[in-house]
Amino acid sequence: GDSVTQTEGLVTLTKGLPVMLNCTYQTTYSPFLFWYVQHLNEAPKLLLKSSTDNKRTEHQGFYATLHKSSSSFHLQKSSVQLSDSALYFCALSEGSNYNVLYFGSGTKLTVEP
């Protein structure tokens, strides 16, 4: 079945450093990948989405590229800020319809001064 793997459970970084959060997926369908960010006691919010192979997508300083050859959609940022401290979830949809999203286990990013 469909699945999403996020290998880092916890990432702690100093402000200003780059970050990459890993996401790999498994599906037999045409994949749609998403990154959601969830700050403490807030709703998960869409950060990025993509279904186009090898095309970089960016939002709010974060970027990711869907690589179908390696089934990956890693999230990156060149310089993290204190406000980036949050939970980050990678999610997979197996189509463009009202499909269920399959979420990874999440990565908690903590940015220190």
């Binding site: 749609f32 709703a43 269920v100 999203l101 286990s105 999440g106």
Partner: protein
């Protein structure tokens, strides 16, 4: 701020009690999803509706959970007989027909079953 409104934010129930939570989706979004997020932050899909019809649901939802999305009223998710393992954050999300697989979440109802 999220445009999906969930109430109440916190709910405390004893084992065996009913627990009911509500969701108002974003205006114009015809599909509503319910997810359970456990203490390890893992998401579990429960059920989704298009207008008032169930699209998909998991076995657990069929047995102890009931959900509905009546027209002109908030959607609701009710646990008939709460168990300790039901303690979690229940997230409602909605999606628009122009971007059907993109979910917009509410802040959730945090259920504690004592």
């Amino acid at each position: 701020n999220s445009k999906v409104i969930q109430t109440p934010r916190y709910l405390v129930k004893g084992q065996g009690q009913k627990a009911k939570m509500r969701c108002i989706p974003e205006k114009g979004h015809p599909v509503v999803f319910w997810y359970q997020q456990n203490k390890n932050n893992e998401f579990k899909f429960l059920i989704n509706f298009q207008n008032q019809e169930v699209l998909q649901q998991i076995d657990m939802t069929e047995k102890r959970f009931s959900a509905e999305c009546p027209s002109n009223s908030p959607c609701s998710l009710e646990i008939q007989s709460s168990e300790a393992g039901d303690s979690a954050l229940y997230l409602c999300a909605s999606s628009h027909r122009d971007s059907q697989n993109t979910l917009y979440f509410g802040a959730g109802t945090r259920l504690s079953v004592l």
